[in-house]
C-alpha cells in the first residue's frame, strides 16, 4: 500500500503512466463524443413540448454533472496534500480548479441558453442554478487564494484547506438552497432507474455524451497536470532528459 | 534567578537540540544542505552569515514556524514533531518583529505573552521592565515608544520566560550601547543557568563566555 502510494506520488511515475493512457483516452473521447453528438443532434426525436431545444441537454447535463464532481475531487486531493504531503495531489488540485471553473461557467451558459426558450429568460433564481452559481464563487475563491499566496508550499496547503472546508459546505449549500425554493428540473427526470419514463432513445445518447465529456475532462486535467509537473520538476534529471531528447 | 536553579536541577542529560542533515532551498537557491549541529545546555551559539545566507530561515525552521525543509530536528533526543507542546514550552523565540502590540502598554503586552507560558505577577513584570531600562515606561502605550524601547519590551519578556532554549533573530537591532550590554549580560546569565541560546547578529558579541559560531556562508548556493 505505502509503496504503491509513494510510487503514485512520484510525478515521474504519473508523467510516464499518463503518456501511456492519453492515446486511449483520445480515441475513446473522439468516438463517444462524435457518436453522442450525431445521435443527439440528428436522431433524437423532438421533445413534444421543448422541441429541438431538448438537444442542448446533451451538452448541458454532462457538463453540469462534471462541474459538480469537481469540488469533491479537489477536496480529496486536498486531504492527500495535507495528510500525505503528496506533491502530485496538489498539482492535480491546482489544475482542477480553473478547469472546474470553466466547466461550471459552461454549465451556467448552456443552462442559460436552454432556459431562454424554456423559461423565457436566461436566468432564474432557481435552486440548482443558484447553488451552481455559489459553487462557481467557491471555485474562484480557491483560484484567487492560490494566486495570492507567493510561496507555492503555503499556497498548496492553504488551497487544500479551503477546498476541504468548501467541500464540507457544498452539500449544506445545495440543501439549503433547494430548501429555499426550487422550480428546476427534478433530478429524477433523467435518472437511470426510471428510464422507462423517458425512453432509451433519449437517455442512451445522454449517457454516451456524459462518458464522452468525462473523457474530455480527464484529458484536459491530465494535460495541464503534466504541464505543472514539468514546471515544478524542471530541475530534476528526468525532466531535463525529456527536454533534451525533445530538442533532439 | 530561580529559573537557573531549576535549570541546573533538571539538566540531567545536557544535550538539548539536535539538527540532523538539514536541507532548505528557497526559490531555487539552496540555502544550506547537510547542515548538522547540536546545542547543549550552557551553549551560546551565534549564527553568522551575510545577508540572505539563511539565518532567519534556519531559526524559523528550528522553531517549527517554517516547515519547508528536509532533515530532522530533535529536542532532547525526540523528534520535535512528536512532542511539539513540550518543545514549545521550552522555547522562547524573538523574530525580526518584536511581538509587541502597539495599542497596549508595555505591562499589558508582557502580561499576555508571559501568561502563555507561566503565571506572572505585575511586580515581576515591573522588575523585568526596570532591568531592561524601561523603568517608568510600564504604562506607556507601545505605539508611543521608540524603536529601541519596543525592542526592550520584548527583551523583558525573555527575563520572565521559563523557556530553556532562547532563539533570537537580530535582537540587537535598534538597541543603544546600554541596551546591548544589558542583553549580552542576559544571554550569559541564561547559559550559565543551564539554558541554551541561538542568536543571529551582525555585530561583534563581547561576552565572557566561550561563544560557539555557526557560519552559513559556506553552505549556501
Amino acid at each position: 500500500m505505502w509503496l504503491w502510494f509513494s510510487k503514485l506520488g512520484s510525478p515521474k511515475w504519473f508523467y510516464e503512466l499518463s503518456s501511456k493512457w492519453l492515446p486511449w483516452l483520445y480515441v475513446a473521447m473522439t468516438i463517444l463524443l462524435s457518436v453522442g453528438l450525431v445521435w443527439a443532434l440528428l436522431f433524437v426525436p423532438q421533445d413534444y413540448q421543448q422541441g429541438d431545444t431538448i438537444r442542448i441537454m446533451y451538452v448541458h447535463v454532462p457538463v453540469a454533472s462534471i462541474s459538480l464532481a469537481c469540488f469533491p475531487l479537489m477536496a480529496v486531493a486536498g486531504v492527500i496534500t495535507l495528510v500525505w504531503k503528496m506533491k502530485l495531489a496538489d498539482m492535480v488540485a491546482k489544475c482542477a480548479a480553473p478547469i472546474g471553473a470553466w466547466f461550471t461557467a459552461v454549465a451556467l451558459a448552456t443552462g442559460a441558453i436552454w432556459g431562454e426558450p424554456i423559461w423565457g429568460t436566461w436566468w432564474v433564481w432557481d435552486a440548482r442554478l443558484t447553488s451552481m452559481l455559489i459553487q462557481f464563487f467557491l471555485l474562484v475563491g480557491v483560484i484567487v487564494l492560490r494566486s495570492a499566496i507567493e510561496s507555492p508550499d503555503s499556497a498548496a496547503k492553504a488551497c487544500a484547506l479551503l477546498s476541504i472546508v468548501g467541500a464540507i459546505n457544498v452539500p449544506i449549500i445545495k440543501y439549503s438552497v433547494e430548501w429555499w425554493n426550487t422550480l428546476h428540473q427534478p433530478a429524477s427526470d433523467f435518472s437511470m432507474d426510471q428510464n422507462s419514463a423517458t425512453g432509451p432513445e433519449i437517455w442512451v445518447p445522454l449517457v454516451i455524451m456524459i462518458i464522452g465529456v468525462y473523457c474530455f475532462f480527464v484529458i484536459s486535467l491530465i494535460l495541464s497536470t503534466r504541464n505543472e509537473v514539468l514546471q515544478r520538476e524542471r530541475k530534476s534529471k528526468w525532466v531535463v532528459d525529456i527536454v533534451n531528447s525533445a530538442k533532439g | 534567578m530561580s529559573l537557573n536553579a531549576e535549570a541546573k536541577a533538571s539538566s540531567s542529560e545536557s544535550r538539548l537540540l539536535d539538527a540532523h542533515e538539514l536541507f532548505c532551498e528557497r526559490d531555487d537557491r539552496v540555502l544550506f544542505s547537510g547542515l548538522n549541529f547540536s546545542l547543549d545546555a550552557g551553549d551560546l551559539m551565534q549564527v553568522q552569515g551575510s545577508n540572505g545566507s539563511g539565518k532567519t530561515t534556519l531559526l524559523r525552521i528550528l522553531c517549527g514556524l517554517n516547515s519547508s525543509y528536509e532533515g530532522e530536528i530533535r529536542w532532547q533526543g525526540e523528534d520535535i514533531h512528536d512532542m511539539r507542546e513540550e518543545f514549545q514550552a521550552a522555547l522562547h523565540y524573538i523574530g525580526h518583529r518584536a511581538g509587541v502590540n502597539k495599542v497596549l502598554t508595555a505591562r499589558e503586552n508582557l502580561r499576555w505573552s508571559v501568561a502563555l507560558h507561566r503565571q506572572v505577577s505585575d511586580t515581576d513584570i515591573d522588575d523585568a521592565l526596570a532591568r531592561v531600562g524601561l523603568l517608568g515606561y510600564a504604562d506607556v502605550v507601545c505605539r508611543n515608544m521608540s524603536a529601541g524601547q519596543q525592542q526592550r519590551v520584548s527583551l523583558a519578556g525573555l527575563l520572565l520566560s521559563p523557556a530553556r532554549l532562547w532563539v533570537l533573530d537580530e535582537p540587537f537591532t535598534t538597541l543603544d550601547v546600554k541596551g546591548v550590554k544589558i542583553l549580552e549580560n542576559l544571554l550569559v546569565q541564561h547559559v550559565e543557568g543551564g539554558g541554551a541560546v541561538l542568536v543571529t547578529t551582525h555585530h561583534q558579541l563581547d561576552v565572557a563566555w566561550n561563544l560557539r559560531r555557526l557560519n552559513l556562508d559556506g553552505l549556501s548556493r
Binding site: L82, I134, F137, L138, G141, V144, L145, A148, I149, S151, S154, K157, A158, L161, L162, I164, V165, G166, I168, N169, I173, Y175, S176, V177 | E6, A7, A9, S10, L16, C63, L65, N66, S68, W75, Q76, M83, E85, E86, F87, Q88, A89, A90, L91, Y93, R97, G99, V100, N101, K102, V103, L104, R111, W112, S113, A115, L116, H117, R118, Q119, P162
Partner: protein, 232 residues
C-alpha cells in the same frame, strides 16, 4: 524549566489571558467598536435611499436587507482579527505557545464576536423597525442573528487566517468567505420572513443551531491550521 517539565500554565488560564487581551485591545480603541455597528446602520439605511422609501416595499425586503448588512458587517470587522498580531509578531508568539492553538483561536473568535457580532444583534430590532419589518418578526430576527453571527465569525476567521499573510486586503477575504456563509443567510432571512407569514420556524432555528455547533467544533481547527500555514 526543562522541555520535559510539565507545561507551566493551564490551558484555561492561557485561554482567559488571550480573551482578556483581545477585549482589552478592543476597549482601548473604543470607537473602533462602534464601526461594525455604524457600518451596519449605514448599509441598512442605504436601501431606503437607493431602492425606495415605500414602506410596503421596504417591509418585503427588510429581513433580507438586515441579514445581508449583518453578514457584511461581521465579514469586514473580521479583517482585524489576526492582522495586527501577524504584523507585530504576536501571532508567532501565539503559535509557539505550548497551548493547543484551537483554544487560543477560539478565544480570539469569541472576543471578536462579543465586540463586533453582539452589538449588531442588539441593534438589529431598531433597524428592523426603520425598515418597517412586522413587529412579530423581531424575535425571529434577534434569535437567528444570535445563532448566525457566531457562525459568520467562525467561518470568517478561517478566511482571515488563510489571507493574513497577504498584502492585499479586505476583498479577497470576502470573496473567499461570503459563499461559505450563504446557508446561514438563507436560513436566517427565510426564518424572519416566514414568521411574518405566520409559519412555524422551529425547524429553521434547529438548522442554524446545528450549523453553529458544527462551526464551533470544526472551524477553530481549520483556522489554527490555516494560521500555521500563513506564518510559514
Amino acid at each position: 524549566m526543562s522541555g520535559k517539565s510539565p507545561v507551566k500554565v493551564s490551558t484555561f488560564s492561557a485561554f482567559r489571558a488571550t480573551l482578556r487581551r483581545d477585549l482589552l485591545i478592543a476597549l482601548k480603541r473604543r470607537n473602533d467598536m462602534l464601526n461594525p455597528l455604524m457600518f451596519f446602520l449605514i448599509v441598512v439605511s442605504l436601501f431606503p435611499l437607493g431602492v425606495s422609501s415605500d414602506p410596503a416595499e421596504l417591509t418585503r425586503i427588510a429581513a433580507g436587507t438586515v441579514w445581508v448588512a449583518a453578514l457584511l458587517a461581521s465579514m469586514l470587522s473580521l479583517d482585524n482579527l489576526f492582522r495586527a498580531d501577524y504584523e507585530d509578531g504576536s501571532l508567532e508568539q501565539l503559535i509557539l505557545s505550548p497551548q493547543p492553538l484551537y483554544f487560543m483561536v477560539l478565544a480570539k473568535n469569541i472576543a471578536h464576536w462579543l465586540i463586533s457580532g453582539l452589538p449588531v444583534v442588539i441593534m438589529s430590532p431598531l433597524l428592523a423597525y426603520m425598515l418597517y419589518l412586522p413587529s412579530e418578526s423581531y424575535w425571529a430576527l434577534v434569535v437567528t442573528l444570535l445563532l448566525g453571527t457566531p457562525v459568520l465569525s467562525l467561518f470568517g476567521s478561517i478566511g482571515v487566517a488563510l489571507t493574513v499573510g497577504l498584502g492585499s486586503r479586505g476583498l479577497i477575504l470576502a470573496v473567499i468567505v461570503l459563499p461559505l456563509t450563504v446557508p446561514v443567510l438563507i436560513i436566517g432571512a427565510k426564518a424572519v420572513a416566514d414568521v411574518s407569514l405566520g409559519l412555524d420556524v422551529s425547524m429553521h432555528y434547529a438548522l442554524l443551531g446545528a450549523i453553529l455547533a458544527m462551526a464551533f467544533t470544526l472551524a477553530p481547527f481549520a483556522s489554527a491550521g490555516a494560521l500555521r500555514i500563513s506564518v510559514n
